[in-house]
Symmetry: C2
Subunit: 225 residues, 2 copies
């Protein structure tokens, strides 16, 4: 479906959050929702929600709010969730195994179709219902059955070479759990998941909020975004 070019990444990042909350409302039988209610639940101003959704169409009716089922369906299309996506995982340490066991992927159309590792003791074993393959076979094994998404859960020192291999194998979206910044060619999208970076952003605030924290009482409740 055609969408405007150059939608800010921060807007795109909010869409899955809207989709998840609206899906839950749909499951609960809610038929309409106002931008106010959605904003209160998600910690986004109603004006921002309306602005975000306006990039993609005219969904709401002034005074009546949005149709939940229609918004869910539109967001599913916008986010490409009306099809299934193939993912491979590289790295079956504790973290990789936790990722492989996550039950939330399948229901949203993400299928884990291959699992790889470099360790002899791992290869041939079973993780996430799949047999662990040798990471050196990655490009060969994906030749017949390409995957769109690669999840990288290997130590930092191996991340770049694993990602280079995934890219050569045709993978165009990468979720990088390794604690290191990596290089990818233009045309390949990469996201990182890194608790340490999140914690260090939070300690910035903890350090600077300290003076005010001892005096302030937790006041109005607000939603996390």
């Amino acid at each position: 479906m055609p969408v405007p070019a150059d939608i800010p990444e921060v807007v795109i990042d909010r869409l899955p959050i809207y989709y998840r909350w609206l899906s839950r409302m749909d499951d609960e039988g809610r038929s309409t929702v106002s931008s106010q209610e959605l904003g209160d639940a998600l910690g986004v101003t109603p004006a921002q929600i309306r602005k975000d959704l306006a990039y993609f169409g005219r969904f709401g009716k002034q005074g009546s709010g949005y149709s939940v089922v229609r918004l869910v369906e539109e967001l599913r299309l916008i986010l490409g969730l009306n099809r299934r996506w193939r993912m491979v995982l590289v790295g079956v340490g504790r973290l990789g195994r936790a990722i492989a066991s996550y039950q939330g992927f399948g229901p949203d159309g993400f299928d884990l179709v291959g699992v790889y590792d470099a360790g002899a003791e791992e290869i041939g074993g079973e993780v996430g219902g799949l047999i662990v393959q040798d990471v050196r076979e990655l490009e060969t094994s994906l030749r017949g059955e390409p995957a769109e998404i690669g999840i990288v859960a290997v130590p930092a020192e191996f991340a770049q070479e694993v990602i280079d291999s995934l890219v050569r194998a045709g993978v165009r979206s990468i979720l990088n759990y390794a604690p290191i910044t990596v290089q990818v060619p233009r045309g390949v999208r990469i996201r990182r998941i890194d608790p340490l970076l999140s914690l260090q952003s939070m300690t910035y605030h903890l350090s600077h909020d300290a003076a005010s924290r001892d005096t302030a009482e937790p006041a109005a409740v607000r939603a996390s975004a």
Copy 2:
């Protein structure tokens, strides 16, 4: 240390990435770095790097670049990493255990000091070198020894009550791995870690890049941010 108020969150989020890369350079014995080199490595324009750092002081010398060791030390102070922080973890399923076993926390000053769960089969067992405590004892156990950071790795349906409990126990920064948006009082900071949201932002792009993808060759290499 005094810092300007209202530094944009996107700037604060880049600081840990700079810190990590510069620390590595410091370990490797590099003494100076230009904003160009740093930018190339991290996928940030040199102008943005200079602008980000300028919020905090005058670090570079025109034409000579930045002193690596000085920048690392300044960023350590800015990010509050010149002290240790106490973290508790709630939830010892596969994900919680993977988080508890992560070796990167300690070296950067993050100490896991308590681990909690609701399950009888987990309580009393050992995770991350600690004995798993009953989550119903969380507020009591933290009364004597407060923790600044809470990591939440429980199913979505329990996340809000666990976070409420952490907040009552005095925790002011929360890393939420549960796949749900939660409410926190003003004064409590929360970050989410959620691979599904990341994947759904990426499928947005995969869906919309599809037409151009089949024709474009991966061109210039660029760094992930």
